[in-house]
Amino acid sequence: MSELIQNLVLGLLLGGVYALAAAGLSLIFGVMRVINIAHGAFLVLAAFITYTLWHAVGLDPLVATVLTMVVVFALGWLTYQALVRPIRTAPMSSTVLLTFGLALVLEGAMGEIWGNSSTAIRPSYADESFTLGAIFIPKAQLYGGLLAIVVLVVLWLVLTKTWLGRAIRAAAANPASAELVGIKVSAVAATVFGLGIAAAGAGGSITGVLYPFVPGSHYQWIARMLAIVVLGGLGSLNGAVLGAVIFGLAEVLTSAYVSPEWATAVPYAIVFAVLLFRPQGLLGTRLREDAVMA
């Protein structure tokens, strides 16, 4: 029994971090109908930036996360203006390919700047755990999970309680009308992109403490994040969180009770199953079928 609880705890903590990583992706898709394949690359980039801050300056990585988020937000904003905006009227497949290309460029850049050997952020608490009876709760995972919750709550507050949030939702629903009522859609879009990337940045910062990473790690991350977003429902932030938690649990439980070998098949199997049986995901909405594809 305690083994089950142990695994559940691990799964939930894992899910919390995944939620942070995937929330940004879902947000960007929901508002701009852009599938950002480079999301994983930004996450790894954030891990490298936090690593540098920790290694060079001695800053605690979870504190450095705030700085990293700012840097990565700016990068995201720039990326939108320079790369995504020119093709915003192109079909969706174009943005997929564009962001894939961007992911490759980022991977190369990280390799050049930081090298290709395995990097890990190892503050003192990285190998310690709290014990609760027979259960061990790794400290880094717990802190990471808490930070993830904080960032997600802040994101949620911004989206629902601020003017920016309303502008974002208006622009998402109907860009043309939003312009008509005075919302500068391109600025809002750039901000949303930046916010989404910043969320990934926070996720990357935390995961850099939990796992070693190399520039090429972004593939595994984007695969997971896509699965989570598809599971939760493309465009639904709540869905991303729910999907992430389910995902974290699924990975852990498969690893523990089936075999670690099959644990990596979980993301892909989920994507398949969801898109087969319930294409809109858990919390996504179905579009009206006869809407003209204008």
């Binding site: 695994n7 691990l10 395995s118 890990a120 014990t131 061990f136 090429g216 670690p260 644990a263 990596t264």
Partner: protein, 407 residues
């Protein structure tokens, strides 16, 4: 707007085409020059295997430096050509084709990882060129009937853990571990080591309580550590490369579980990197299989270590030493035959002789698989020592793992 992007597009294409032509023109290399002997290899300097790839490059370069300092090969200076295959199979095939037909190398040296050596050695074999590989010990390599392939380590992977298994079997019943766990990476190198050792240990009466393979890109070891913990093994025999070797060790520490005895492939042989990875105080007693030790009194080793330290400021990693040994084997064959032209003669020479290297004496069977036995190393007092076989040992083997941070 349409014409805009169209014009831009066509301009872009025209420029790209010109650039491409220019590059091709510049890129042709001019073939072998008269007084050097070209030796070519492709290594994974970027990508998944970049860590051992970089180490191998260091080893090869030291070899080049030392051979040339000693008068070169057949009187000519060695010119080492190193390509980067980015850990990609297609690229390594292209690279070896390029080395043979474009760079026109006289001799080839192998690469790191069985996954890359398998296709690369096929290119060499098709072109009937000698292929000495410093890594790639999976049994698969030697079942293809190749005549030009040689592995420059002491043993194929499924034999590498045997000396240790024999040691465990030889312990008195009271001290011998009763149960063992076998987590392993799904890797054609690591998995056979574990399999070979497990069979031997089971024969010696050690009960298997956990046996799982995890996928290559596994990052999260907490669940695996938890599962191992609940199986309560006395011995953990872990088949790993580097990242996962560190990862699982840390996860076990986090989970508050330390088996009495701990054996891990690969990772512990990475010297300082391993110590940093799991924490220097946790290394005490970790046992591993290794092909090389900087302290070994094998011929040429002290000079190698000195030259390496001078150039790179650190002790050579195992992969670097293996690469150096491959160079030694190649040089021995060339010197033995007296020329580099007839690759078949070189291969025959190696099959009939034993070569003395910094890893010790190496000799091969007809498939190119080495006949020898691996070393077993152990971390003691913050240093990696050799403990088995006793003839080569620098220290006595300790039976237990005692990480300082054990809970």
């Amino acid at each position: 707007m349409w014409h805009h992007s169209l014009r831009r597009g066509v301009t872009a294409v025209a420029l790209a085409g010109l650039a491409g032509l220019g590059l091709v023109a510049c890129g042709q290399s001019s073939g072998a020059s008269g007084d050097t002997i070209k030796v070519g290899t492709s290594l994974p300097l970027t990508g998944e295997f970049s860590q051992p790839g970089a180490a191998a490059k260091q080893g090869y370069e030291i070899w080049e430096q030392m051979v040339n300092a000693d008068g070169g090969l057949l009187g000519k200076d060695v010119d080492l050509v190193v390509k980067d295959d980015a850990s990609n199979q297609n690229t390594i095939v292209s690279d070896y084709n390029a080395l043979i037909s474009q760079s026109k190398v006289s001799l080839l040296l192998g690469t790191f990882s069985s996954l890359l050596n398998l296709p690369a050695s096929a290119v060499a074999e098709k072109n009937q060129m000698l292929y000495v590989e410093p890594a790639g010990g999976s049994p698969e390599m030697f079942s293809r009937g190749f005549k030009y392939l040689f592995f420059s380590q002491q043993a194929v992977s499924d034999q590498q853990g045997i000396p240790y298994a024999q040691y465990i079997a030889s312990l008195p019943t009271a001290q011998r571990p009763k149960t063992a766990a076998y987590p392993t990476l799904d890797d054609p190198f690591a998995a056979p080591v574990v399999e070979g050792a497990r069979k031997a240990l089971e024969k010696a009466g050690v009960k298997t309580v956990y046996k799982q393979t995890y996928a290559i890109d596994t990052k999260n070891f907490d669940t695996i550590a938890a599962a191992i913990k609940s199986a309560k093994p006395d011995l953990v025999f872990h088949g790993a490369q580097f990242e996962d070797g560190v990862g699982l060790t840390r996860a076990m520490l986090k989970a508050g579980f330390t088996p009495k005895t701990y054996f891990e492939t690969n990772a512990p042989s990475f010297g300082d990197q391993y110590a940093k990875g799991i924490g220097a105080k946790n290394t005490e007693g970790v046992t591993f299989a290794v092909s090389y030790s900087p302290e070994a009194k094998t011929p040429g080793n002290p000079e190698f270590v000195a030259a390496f330290k001078k150039k790179y400021g650190e002790l050579p990693a195992e992969d670097a030493a293996d690469a150096y040994a491959a160079g030694e084997v190649l040089a021995a064959a060339v010197k033995g035959v007296g020329s580099a032209d007839d690759q078949t003669k070189l291969a025959d020479w190696l099959r009939g002789h034993t070569v003395q290297t910094i890893l010790g004496p190496l000799k091969w069977d007809k498939t190119g698989a080495p006949i020898g036995s691996y070393l077993i190393g152990q971390w003691q007092n913050g240093q990696a020592r050799i403990v088995l076989p006793e003839a080569a040992a620098t220290d006595k083997i300790k039976p237990t793992w005692t990480p300082a941070g054990a809970q």
